[in-house]
Amino acid sequence: MAVQEPAAEVAESGRASLLYDPKIRALISQVALILLVIWLGYSMITNTISNLERQQIASGFGFLGTTSGFSIAPSLGTYIVDYAEESSYGAAFYVGLVNTLLVAFIGIILATIWGFILGVARLSNNWVIAKLSTVYIETLRNVPLLLQIFFWYFAVLRSLPNPRDSVEFGANIVLNTRGLFMPRPLPEDGMGWVGIMVLIGIVAAFLVRRWAHKRQEATGEQFPVFWTSIGLILGLPLVVFLILGLPLQWQIPELTGFNFQGGMVVIPEFMSLLLALVLYTATFIAEIVRAGILAVSHGQTEAAHALGVRSGPTLRLVVIPQALRVIIPPLTSQYLNLTKNSSLAVAIAYPDLVSVFAGTVLNQTGQAVEILLITLAVYLAISIVTSIFMNWYNARMALVER
């Protein structure tokens, strides 16, 4: 009882003056800070609006529905959105968004593959390979990206022939200064089934993988999962495609006048931007991979070798899974960097979000505040989604303590 007395006293004095309660004080200062931030935000917004009005600068989001009147270079975005000059500024936004996502997505995949190869190569026991990789990494990592983009753009342009002397690869694929022209697939009725079969194939492949894994754990027998999966994902739709009598038309690019018309084109701006982003980002990924592999103690490799596991599987099954725990977090920031760096597209006329929307649309409408808010929000959203995915993957890869 005697012990409890002082405690009661404290409680009493606390009641006497709430201001001296550290919890309450913390709460008050937090609330005050939040209110201050809200007030600042609010006054900035109202001020901006009233000033825009006073200077007679148009505002609001109505412009998104207005006809744009300009054209955008052919790209995945213009194919998907079916964009033309009569389309709205909103449609132009989607074109830019698709193009940004496209270059970021493909860029991330290729940079990861190339980066892993380079990182492993730099650790190779083969002196020539290790040194080549080192030189490559140290050179490209230290040259500004914008310069590399220009270099590839003009190097690519200068080395490509003009449309009349195009390089032909057969199957109606041609390459010239205007880009890589390919037949454009025009799906007909029934193509939907083929798509459904792809999905079914993916699910089936996944189930096979689980089954094979279980069986291997139980019996030690191995199963060719990789080739079965390929068969399921590609073979199944192919069979359906053949049964349905090839429900697909191809629009073939043809040389008319100045240029190839029709078909699908991968413009040189896309190629050089992708090339530059991949070659550059891969160097950083390589270093991250190298660090990750070096972080796995050599004893692990030795133990695997002692058990008679060959080098390839040791790397794949012992070292990489452990290295991934070190690799994934910094890898995420490289992915975010690549995505953000893709906005340098504006320098070489690749119609990405910054170039089309925060560039052309902004200039034609003059609605800088709205357009930059949308653009910032889009980049933020892309970054957050990437982070969420990578955090999920990281959690999956994390060491499971048993």
Binding site: S43, N47, A73, L146, L157, F258, A347
Partner: protein, 363 residues
């Protein structure tokens, strides 16, 4: 090898100019955020007298192009010259009596309006077309026309094209954020022709891409074509097609809401046109000032108090003509027949000679 190092050099230039000002993203976003902040914080600044600001800092901040020979371009000594630059110099001469009291901000087509709106520059004199939407919804005012232009096309002679109507299916290189982009769309659509547009932010990249064969056609203001042609590897192998597909009245621009500054810029240009009409040149201005023509005396400030009405000294126009010249002089010196551009007066001649240049009288 030579062209590759050339590319690298120009790439370097871009990198420098970009790293100097931050990344591309920053370059666009920062001014706007700053703009927003200045719109928000200094609520009164933009409607307050630009003249007072300019006087206080001692120079006119003038937005120009990133290098368009004849209009705004740096010469070998690193000084800005051109017919657009001379408008800036005229304003400085009117305000300070010193045509060199100007600082220049090179702006791409895309950056220019934001730079003016946010107060980064006091006047924009950068081959900018006066259009209704720019005049009414961007919070800007056009102070006149210092060059009447129209959009044209340039092609390689080897293509054998003689008319723009033969351009069906062509690849077209141009600048983003310009009227050019819109006109070319209208023209091809209107004539039922196909085309592919490749739009760059910086004019130098358009030139390089066109020069490397990325496009069949380079389109911009006709004056711009003549100017940019000088930058090509072999200017002689390219020609400008006869069609002019649009009206491009180019002139200086100021922010909406400061009438006094608007008047100063407008009348600085008018003074040069009026001077040409009256035969006042930089060479004879001192003599003419003390002559007997009352119109000339009003213009040059020996009679009346026209300068005071716009917040300047009465010899404002005298200073312009003395240090910059009259309209004919700046035309001839920068773009006229004796310059590399070799453009004849044409529609830019005085109204009294059958052209369009016409300024309201000083009275």
């Amino acid at each position: 090898m030579d062209c590759l190092t050339g590319q690298l050099n120009s790439g370097m230039k871009h990198v420098q100019s970009v790293t100097k000002e931050g990344s591309v993203m920053k370059k666009i976003i920062l001014p706007v955020i700053l703009g927003m902040a200045s719109l928000g914080v200094s609520a009164g600044a933009s409607s307050a007298a630009t003249l007072d600001d300019v006087k206080a800092k001692g120079f006119v901040q003038c937005g120009v192009s990133q290098g368009l020979p004849g209009f705004s371009n740096t010469n070998d000594a690193g000084d800005w010259t051109g017919i657009d630059v001379d408008v800036c110099r005229a304003v400085a001469a009117a305000v300070f009596g010193d045509a060199s009291a100007v600082k220049y901000t090179p702006l791409s087509a895309k950056e220019r309006f934001t730079a003016l709106q946010s107060g980064e520059v006091d006047v924009l004199s950068r081959n900018t077309t006066w259009t209704m939407s720019r005049d009414t919804s961007l919070g800007l005012n056009f102070a006149g026309v210092n060059y009447y232009d129209g959009q044209g096309f340039m092609v390689r002679n080897s293509l054998g094209v003689t008319s723009a109507l033969q351009l069906d299916g062509a690849s077209v290189c141009t600048n983003t954020g310009t009227t050019t982009e819109l006109n070319v769309a209208d023209y091809f659509r209107g004539n039922n022709m196909n085309y592919e547009v490749v739009a760059f932010e910086k004019a130098d990249e358009v030139v390089q891409a066109y020069d490397s064969g990325r496009c069949d056609v380079y389109t911009t203001d006709a004056s711009g074509l003549y100017a940019q042609r000088l930058k090509l590897t072999n200017p002689g192998e390219h020609s400008v097609l006869p069609e002019i597909i649009s009206k491009e009245p180019l002139g200086p621009v100021v922010r909406h809401g400061d009438d006094q500054w608007f008047d100063i810029v407008k009348w600085s240009l008018n003074a040069m046109i009026n001077a040409e009409e009256m035969g006042v040149t930089s060479a004879n201005v001192d003599e003419m000032r003390n002559g007997s023509n009352p119109g000339v005396k009003r213009l040059l400030g020996t009679e009346g108090a026209f300068g005071e009405a716009i917040g300047l000294s009465n010899d404002w126009a005298y200073n312009i003509i003395k240090s910059v010249g009259n309209y004919g002089e700046i035309f001839d010196a920068n773009v006229g027949p004796d310059t590399p551009l070799g453009i004849s007066r044409g529609v830019n001649d005085l109204w009294s000679n059958g052209g369009l240049q016409y300024a309201p009288p000083v009275r």
